[in-house]
């Protein structure tokens, strides 16, 4: 009945052109004499129209009195009446049959249901004074026991009566159109594009919300016979359930937190008892209360977990809940389309913002990976590595061609592995070890030093980001003088150890510490590369530390410790 409010019928600002008959005398049975103004109905019980309860009746009569004065007659020209009821009726005006709605019958078979909203013109010569309105009714086809069988009986300006609710319908259609368009867009985008479930849930949510708004206003938009009313109410309740279930599905999918399955299941289970709440408005209202509240709790948790984009959705739901608490009885009839549109817009804002943020993050990751790949390859194309290697190679060719030939093989091997691994985000440890050894072989020939790598307890199938130990090795070779110290000789032995403990893997890389010049306090490009690669694979779930172990010992060691989670699937391939 929301549109009655919306049309301002009950406002007292200007002299009314519509008035209602509030109370009727009611009698079960059927007698043509009951239509007559002269009939004495003072024995009949009198009820407010919307309180009339007639159960198991074949045919029953309602008699009410209409008071008209000349001023009202002048204002409300031409005159008509409107009866909103779950019944078929014949209307007698001052004893004369004036209009029929369906066919009134003593049995369900004899009755043909009338329109739920019934508008007719009244005679133009209706004078001032009291008029008797007698309604002969039957209501065999309701299909349920409604709280109200009759809603209103209005008399007044015919055009105004006939167009009551048009403004409401227009607003409803606009919001339903918007909701359905959003629904269609995201359903399409799921079907033909992203396959992202949050798209699907948002699409279905908007679709269900749009359908709910349309079905809710179907009565004003198209009208129907009163026997279909039960089906509309069932559809509204089902759609309300779907809207809330999809809302929960969307917010838990879009803003993932631990315990998602448990939370959604409990929320959905909580919606089930709503079906046993009496009255369709009660059912729908409770469904919204459960759906909005549980979604609100989830979004508040998401916000607490610093998923800032959840703020918009949370605001939308808070507004919806606020309106619901402010106008609990008119929410479903009058504010529903408004509430659902606002909610959907806020959900959309949240979704789009979160999507944009995810896309940016994804692009940043891709860009970082590409940069790391280039950085790794460039290190081996940069003149210092390449030209010194070639110079050493030409020297070996002139001095000992066999050594030169071996060096070419080793360089080829190193470049082959590098080309293979540089574009990947993780490689088996065995391959990393092979890369390190071929690099050491090249460097040993280039610098005429004895360089070795000792591997302790390594599982060659463990996944590691590419070239991280290779980079640590390069770093050590660049910043230490292994050939210069005559006391130790030009031998350097590097050590890589792998230790497993409580779901984590720890890698310890040790290099003999014979620094050239002072050790820089800041992190060099090598260590930055290692850190960036680890972040690419493990997010923030890793530890990297480096430093001199016992600098006063005779053979100090530079130790790098890398601690990462254990598990093949944590390292994206």
């Amino acid at each position: 009945m929301g549109w009655l409010l919306g049309a301002g019928v009950l406002s007292a600002a200007e002299p009314p052109r519509i008035l209602g008959i509030q109370s009727f005398r009611v009698m079960v049975g059927d007698d043509p004499a009951w239509s007559q103004p002269t009939f004495d109905d003072s024995e009949w019980p009198e009820h407010e129209l919307d309180r009339i309860q007639v159960e198991d009746a074949s045919i029953f009569w309602l008699r009410g009195r209409l008071e008209l004065d000349d001023e009202f007659l002048a204002r409300a020209e031409p005159m008509g009446f409107q009866l909103l009821a779950l019944a078929s009726c014949e209307l007698f005006l001052n004893g004369e049959l004036w209009a029929t709605n369906g066919v009134v019958g003593a049995t369900p078979e004899q009755e043909q249901p009338g329109a739920i909203d019934w508008n007719r013109a009244l005679p133009t010569d209706l004078g001032s004074g009291e008029h008797l309105v007698a309604l002969r009714c039957s209501a065999h086809h309701r299909g349920f026991a409604p709280r109200m069988g009759f809603y209103v009986f209005l008399v007044g300006d015919y055009l105004e009566l006939a167009t009551l609710g048009w403004g409401y319908s227009a607003r409803t259609l606009i919001s339903a159109g918007g909701l359905l368009a959003i629904g269609l867009f995201y359903a399409m985008s799921f079907l033909f594009g992203t396959r992202s479930r949050s798209h699907l849930w948002l699409g279905l949510f908007a679709g269900a919300a749009g359908s709910l708004v349309i079905v809710e206003s179907l009565r004003v938009l198209v009208g129907y016979t009163y026997d279909l009313h039960i089906w509309r109410l069932l559809t509204v309740t089902f759609l309300a359930w779907a809207v809330n279930a999809l809302l929960i599905a969307f917010v838990t999918e879009r803003f993932p937190l631990p315990g998602r399955v448990g939370f959604s299941t409990i929320s959905l289970v909580l919606t089930l008892p709503c079906w046993w709440i009496p009255g369709f408005d009660g059912k729908t209202g409770t469904l919204f209360l459960v759906g909005l509240t549980t979604s609100w709790i989830w979004l508040a948790r998401a916000l607490w977990a610093r998923q800032m984009d959840a703020l918009w959705a949370l605001t939308g739901i808070s507004l919806c809940l606020g309106v619901g608490f402010w106008q609990p009885y008119q929410f479903l009839d009058y504010y529903l389309f408004f509430g659902l549109s606002v909610l959907c817009l806020f959900l959309l804002a949240s979704h789009v913002l979160a999507g944009a943020r995810e896309r940016r993050e994804h692009e940043a990751i891709e860009l970082r990976s590409a940069r790391l790949e280039i950085e790794l390859l460039r290190r081996h194309l940069q003149p210092h590595f390449l030209m010194n290697t070639l110079t050493a190679l030409s020297e070996w060719f002139e001095e000992e061609p066999e050594v030169a030939s071996e060096m070419v093989q080793e360089l080829g091997q190193e470049l082959r592995i590098l080309a293979d691994v540089s574009s990947r985000s993780s490689i088996p440890l065995g391959q990393e070890l092979e890369l390190c050894r071929s690099h050491l072989a090249v460097m040993a020939k280039r610098r005429d030093e004895n360089l070795m790598l000792e591997a302790v307890g390594l599982d060659p199938t463990s996944q590691v980001p590419p070239a991280i130990f290779h980079t640590l090795l390069e770093n050590a070779l660049t910043h230490n003088a292994y050939g210069a110290d005559e006391g130790i000789g030009n031998t350097a032995c590097f050590r890589l150890r792998q230790e497993m403990a409580s779901g984590r893997i720890r890698y310890v890389f040790e290099a003999p510490f014979r620094p050239i010049g002072p050790v820089s306090k800041s992190e060099g490009t090598g260590l930055r590369y290692v850190r960036a690669r680890l972040r690419e694979s493990f997010g923030e779930d890793f530890r990297l530390s480096a430093g001199v172990d016992d600098p006063d010992s005779l053979q100090p060691v530079w130790r790098t410790v890398i601690d990462v989670p254990n598990g093949a699937d944590t390292c994206a391939s």
Binding site: A392, S394, E395, T478, I516
Partner: protein, 231 residues
């Protein structure tokens, strides 16, 4: 000839030493190889050399700081480096030659020949490096008006009247300086762009008057070259 090779890559250093010995032959008095920058600096402070072969990337350290110091020294420097993109910068600072890695015997011979015969390569010197109270200062050569010999050193006279002492001899500076610097006298190198006029006194003594009013004597044997280049 006394040669110092500063190179941290053992095999590359070996190649340089081997080839220098081959090419220089009997002329070579002494050859030494240093792998570390600070050792090389100490070595240069101890005893003079005639020619320095310098790698610009020693254990990841930028060798240009050392280069700025050595170009202010009395000896010539030949850079041997993989970083050819910095050759121009090195020439601007006053190196005699830039040998890119990987190098052949032929290329190294060219560098040695330049050192021995004062047969210079591209003259793109833009600064003269001066050692003054422990640090190195760069004087843009556009600011240099003339250079006067002072025993084993050279006095750099700038346009604004300042005088600075350079460790290189006048001959070595002549190797490096661009074409518009001309040796007009046994003891003078002049920036021809700074010359106002050529004058002669009775008795056929010639001299140049510079923009600053300074007069520079012109050697009789050097007069034809001056006339060719300047007039």
């Amino acid at each position: 000839m006394r040669v110092l090779v500063v190179e941290d890559e053992a095999v590359v250093a070996r190649r340089l030493a081997r080839m220098i010995r081959d090419i220089a032959g009997e002329e070579l008095e002494h050859l030494e190889v240093q792998g570390l920058l600070h050792d090389a600096v100490d070595r240069l402070a101890e005893a003079p050399v005639d020619l320095l072969f310098l790698d610009l990337n020693l254990h990841g350290q930028d060798g240009f700081e050392l280069l700025r110091q050595v170009v202010a020294s009395s000896f010539h420097t030949v850079v041997v480096s993989a970083h050819t993109e910095r050759a121009v910068e090195a020439f601007e600072l006053g190196v005699l030659d830039f040998v890119p890695k990987p190098f052949s015997r032929k290329r190294l011979r060219l560098a040695l020949d330049r050192a021995r015969r004062h047969d210079t390569g591209p003259r793109s010197l833009r600064y003269l490096a001066i050692r003054r109270s422990g640090s190195t200062h760069l004087i843009p050569i556009d600011q240099v008006s003339f250079i006067q010999a002072a025993d084993d050193y050279a006095e750099i006279h700038t346009r604004d009247g300042q005088v600075a002492l350079h460790d290189k001899t006048l001959s070595k500076l002549e190797d490096l300086l661009p074409e518009h610097f001309l040796r007009v006298h046994r003891s003078y190198l002049v920036n021809l762009r700074d010359v106002r006029r050529l004058d002669n006194e009775p008795g056929s003594r010639y001299f140049l008057e510079l923009e600053s009013g300074q007069e520079i004597p012109v050697g009789r044997t050097r007069l034809p070259a001056l006339r060719r280049r300047w007039i």
